[in-house]
């Protein structure tokens, strides 16, 4: 049995090619993902382990480091990680050295005055020289460490990116004024934020504490003296620990970091594996097609085997052994290709600026096993049904001279099952639960896949008028496309799946984008919003400065405070009640902005409904400082994603804040948005790279950019599924041409020329591709609609938008897929010699 299976595989090499390619690509995707994430995670781990070299024990505030600003309304706690503590730890027996570290947002301007490294990119830290005068965290490659307030050092990657050299003067800002400093040196570091692609600047210790606004260290790192173990050091550190601080061993820190990296990489690999799974699923259709054809072609041979005594089980097994061999070959090549994919991904990410750490390629044994098992199992699974069908061939078929035509039997069963599945999915759609709804959409997708053979007939019949200009070849290609509805259906399904996902995601993304645009346009009247680049609080002086500008018509801060209103914990934004109406437009259900004077507040409708409030009521709001204010409800408005919560005059909010800061400042100019206006604002704020000034369009562009980036990534990931679907179209056409050799030969004999033969095959490919595309796009729109239905519950301005432009592009691509896929089968069809074809077997 094994030998016949092997012979069969070898005999049908060419016909199995597309199947092998499909499985291979799927396996390559899976193993590439696994190898890449393993390699990446391993390199990251090695790097981060190194960054803990100088830490035997770390002292951190309870609840983690880098978290002491005290701005969020809480009462300030006295500093714990002080110089005194640092001195004490340095003098501990068993401590070799101890350094204190601080780090916080620092905006560094590049040569054009723009912020380096994006919104969250640049951090600033201190240079804390140890006993040897060096800070072990930084390894200077050029120049020297900063020694005074006028000096700063850059990490080497940022230096390379910006073109700054030692001796250059740079501008930077933390949350105060813009400062200037001379670059004293450039360093390499293993710091996590830099490894993740961020930028780092380093100040001398005193300057760092001052400009980063620190009253204590974020962390004190103690290095054990030779001969002292981490645990011993840790217990002696614990004896001097002040309140609300913890001591962590270097091993613990390293483990925590490792766990975090693990979590991040596994999240990434899960996303990639989902798409790999989609690609493999698509591949199943091609494999099933190929094996169905192989079985159909070998009907006589298999019947002969049955006639001479092979059991049904043996026949099925021989088909499955073939599938096993094909799957194994494809998995092995796919795995090899996957290693290439992993390396490609790495250089792709690096060229996209993600700067991954270098490390050796990690090929885990599990990866090899997973790749091989997936390749083999998927192939055998897809070949199982054709194998079953092979077993049903009666021995007498060997004696029949008649070609066993593929039966249409079974379609009735299939259609019934499909209809039931679709009905079930439709019922699920009408359920209240969003998860059930989403599941319903998925169930309908499965049902439609089952029903595609049924759908293929009316769809392809409907294409007749479009094919009219092609005359008889158009007609023949249309008839050929429905000759084997199962095969056409599974070929089209492969394409359909990819396009369904692509269309659904495009619909949701574009609708979401314009919903947000609309929201911004509807609710914001301000020309500019001013905020910190890292969304840290703004000093209230910023608004004062802006308000004094001659071009400014109105301005108001959004000054966040928090408080309890009945059972709701809500944000109370302090606004300039006189200017607010010019900057936003609120959709009042009752009351108006005019009432917002004195101890009053605007309440969003949801809170009002929850608390049973109406305009004119007076409500107590208990602020976070523990004091309660009695506020009169000036109006109730419809909230949205941009404007929600309570709005109260600044005078109401200010007394309850420990430190008055603004989230953002909204500005309306006398002459609207202009370069001049923006320049004026920038100049008034001291050309500060840390301050972000956005006009309305910039807000919209930022959202659109993010949505497009996400979409393009998804398109890229789904490209593999589409590619495999193309292989499926090629496969199907090659089969069609092979099966219709005689027919094509006869037509060549009675006068169909080569060009027309090619045209006929090409048109068939285009029909099948477009069938898949139209089904996919239709289903995608439907899915988009289902998803939108639940989104519009939370995002009020969401209305489904059909991206006609993109859909047209998808259809064109599908048509092109048909043309490309038909190239090789059409050529071989045209090359058929009429004589070879009409001579009987």
């Amino acid at each position: 049995m094994f030998r016949t299976a092997l012979r069969n595989v070898l005999a049908h090499k060419a016909r199995l090619l597309m199947t092998v390619l499909a499985v291979m690509l799927g396996v390559a995707f899976v193993s590439g993902t696994l190898v890449f994430t393993d390699t990446f995670g391993n390199a990251y781990k090695n790097k981060s382990a190194k960054s803990f070299d100088h830490v035997s024990v770390a002292i951190q505030p309870e609840g983690g480091s880098y978290n002491e600003s005290g701005d969020d309304g809480e009462a300030k706690k006295p500093p714990r990680l002080t110089d005194a503590l640092l001195k004490k730890t340095q003098n501990l027996p068993g401590a070799d050295s101890a350094i204190g570290g601080v780090m916080d947002f620092t905006a560094l301007a590049d040569k054009d005055g723009k912020l380096v490294g994006g919104d969250w990119g640049t951090s600033g830290a201190n240079y804390y020289p140890g006993k040897d005068g060096k800070d072990p965290r930084y390894d200077f490659t050029e120049g020297a460490a900063p020694k005074s307030a006028g000096e700063i050092a850059l990490d080497s990657r940022t230096a390379g990116r910006t073109g700054y050299k030692v001796g250059d003067t740079v501008r930077y800002s933390t949350d105060g004024p813009v400062r200037q400093a001379r670059i004293s040196g450039v360093f390499d570091t293993e710091d996590g934020s830099v490894l993740a692609g961020g930028s780092l600047v380093v100040f001398d210790n005193d300057t760092a504490m001052k400009v980063l606004g620190k009253s204590q260290y974020d962390e004190i790192d103690v290095k054990a003296a030779a001969g002292t173990s981490e645990t011993a050091l840790k217990s002696s550190v614990e004896k001097i620990l002040p309140k609300e601080t913890v001591a962590l061993s270097g091993a613990q820190l390293s483990d925590d970091q490792e766990a975090m990296i693990e979590e991040q990489t596994s999240a990434m690999s899960q996303v990639l594996l989902i798409f790999a799974g989609i690609a493999l699923f698509v591949g199943i259709f091609i494999i099933a097609n190929t094996f169905t054809m192989l079985v159909a072609q070998r009907t006589k041979e298999l019947a002969l085997m049955r006639a001479i005594g092979a059991s049904r089980r043996q026949v099925t097994r021989s088909v499955l052994i073939e599938a096993f061999l094909v799957g194994l070959a494809a998995a092995v090549t796919g795995f090899t290709l996957g290693i290439g994919v992993a390396m490609g991904l790495e250089s792709l990410m690096n060229s996209a600026g993600a700067s991954l750490p270098d490390g050796p390629l990690v090929i885990a044994p599990t990866t090899i096993v997973v790749a091989l098992v997936i390749g083999v199992v998927v192939t055998m699974l897809a070949a199982w049904l054709p194998g079953r069908r092979a077993a049903k061939i009666p021995p007498v078929a060997a004696m029949n001279s008649v070609h066993a035509t593929p039966t249409t039997r079974g379609l009735v069963v299939r259609n019934t099952i499909g209809s039931i599945i679709v009905a079930l999915g439709t019922v699920m759609l009408f359920m209240d639960d969003n998860y059930v709804k989403a599941g319903g959409a998925g169930v309908i997708l499965v049902g439609v896949i089952v029903l595609t053979p049924l759908l293929s007939r009316p769809f392809i019949a409907a294409s007749a008028p479009l094919l009219k200009p092609f005359g008889v070849t158009g007609k023949l290609s249309r008839l050929n496309a429905v000759r084997n509805p199962r095969r056409t259906a599974s070929t089209a399904s492969a394409l359909m799946i990819g396009l369904t996902l692509i269309t659904a995601m495009t619909v949701v993304a574009t609708s979401m984008g314009s919903a947000i645009n609309k929201m911004a346009a509807d609710s914001l009247k301000a020309d500019y919003t001013v905020s910190m680049a890292n969304y840290q609080p703004l000093a209230p002086e910023i608004r004062e400065k802006l308000d004094k500008l001659p071009d400014v018509e109105a301005s108001s801060p959004l000054r966040p405070a928090y408080g309890e209103l009945g059972d709701s914990y809500t944000e109370v934004s302090g606004v300039d009640e006189k200017a607010f109406g010019k900057l936003v437009s609120l959709d009042f259900t009752s009351g108006s902005l005019a009432n917002l004077t004195g101890a009053s507040t605007l309440v969003d409708k949801e809170t009002a409904d929850d608390e049973g409030l109406k305009t004119g009521d007076t409500v107590p709001v208990k602020f976070d400082d523990g004091k309660t204010a009695e506020l009169k409800v000036a109006g109730v408005y419809e909230q949205n994603e941009m404007l929600n919560g309570l709005f109260a005059p600044l005078a109401v909010v200010d007394p309850h804040l420990s430190k008055v800061t603004d989230q953002q400042v909204m500005v309306k100019m006398k002459d609207g948005v202009s370069d001049r206006a923006e320049d004026a604002i920038v100049k008034a704020l001291g050309d500060n790279p840390a301050i972000k000034i956005q006009d309305k369009n910039a807000i919209n562009n930022e959202i659109a950019g993010a949505i497009n980036l996400l979409l393009n990534m998804l398109y890229g990931l789904l490209a593999m599924a589409i590619l495999i679907a193309v292989l499926g179209v090629i496969n199907t056409l090659a089969m069609s041409v092979f099966e219709r050799k005689h027919e094509i030969g006869m037509m060549r004999a009675i006068g169909l020329d080569r060009a027309k033969v090619k045209q006929m095959v090409r048109l068939e490919a285009i029909i099948i591709s477009l069938f898949g595309a139209v089904l996919g796009i239709g289903l995608g729109l439907f899915m988009g609609w289902v998803a939108g239905d639940s989104i519009s519950g939370t995002v009020k301005t969401y209305t489904m938008e059909i991206p006609f432009g993109r859909i047209a592009v998808f259809l064109c691509i599908a048509g092109l897929v048909g043309v490309l896929a038909a190239m090789w089968p059409a050529r071989s069809a045209a090359k058929l010699n009429p004589l070879m074809a009409i001579k009987s077997e």
Binding site: N480, R483, M746
Partner: protein, 256 residues
């Protein structure tokens, strides 16, 4: 059986092969399929080509019909010399001047009987001559089967569709490659009858390859091929006469 003298009917030649040779392979493995064959197929004449397997009878037909290339010599269909034609021109010639009936794989299963009949004209983008079409369909007796698909027709009916298709475009010459090879004797007789009628009544030219003496007896003239050469010719043949002639070749073949 008596027929009119051939000379009285027509003298125009529909197709002519002169010094036609077809050689496969080189040197040691060289096989001569046709050896300087010269033959005329006259208009409005029904010719059968006979010969044992491997005699070159099919090769001769394929070469004359523009389906196969030849090594030397010349072939003319009407005034057109085939040797110099490219594939595209050959295809056009087959489409417009030649009709074909094959042993099997004659019809497209996706098309109805009528659509199969008009296929050559559809390919050419021509409208069929309605009157002629009806006459042809009437002759083969398919008027009530036109909307059926080949799978719904018997073997004999399928071959009648093929005959109608060959006749429908009024070609200069019709070639049949064992047209009755897959049919039972009654259906075969019907098809041959139609072919003979098309020659007698419509003035059609038919050339048919067969190994069946009964089929050959329907022809006006039988050409006997052996080892790539024309070895004999019989006018107004009868089945017995053809059979005797064949037996004689076989006997010669066995003794030589």
């Amino acid at each position: 059986m008596t027929t009119m003298p051939l000379a009285d009917r027509a003298t125009t030649v529909a197709a002519r092969a002169s010094e036609l040779s077809k050689v496969y392979g080189h040197g040691e493995t060289q096989v001569v399929a046709l050896d300087r064959v010269s033959v005329d197929f006259r208009q409005a004449e029904f010719t059968a080509i006979m010969g044992p397997s491997g005699s070159g009878k099919s090769t001769l037909m394929h070469c004359v019909a523009g389906l196969d290339s030849f090594s030397s010599g010349s072939v003319r269909i009407g005034d057109t010399e085939l040797g110099s034609l490219k594939d595209k021109q050959l295809t056009k010639l087959r489409r417009d001047k030649i009709g074909f009936i094959f042993q099997a794989f004659n019809l497209l299963p996706t098309l109805t009987a009528l659509e199969n009949i008009t296929l050559p004209m559809d390919i050419a983008g021509r409208k069929p001559d309605k009157e002629w079409l009806n006459r042809v369909i009437g002759m083969v007796g398919l008027a009530d089967r036109l909307s059926h698909r080949p799978t719904e027709l018997s073997g004999g009916q399928q071959q009648r569709v093929a005959v109608a298709r060959a006749l429908a475009s009024r070609p200069d010459i019709i070639f049949g490659d064992e047209p009755t090879g897959n049919l039972d004797s009654r259906s075969g007789a019907e098809v041959l009858g139609f072919l003979r009628n098309s020659v007698r009544e419509m003035g059609q030219t038919v050339v048919m390859v067969t190994h069946d003496p009964v089929a050959a007896a329907y022809a006006d003239r039988v050409i006997f091929l052996a080892d790539g050469r024309i070895v004999d010719e019989m006018l107004s043949p009868t089945a017995d006469g053809v059979l005797d002639r064949m037996k004689a070749f076989d006997a010669k073949g066995r003794t030589s």
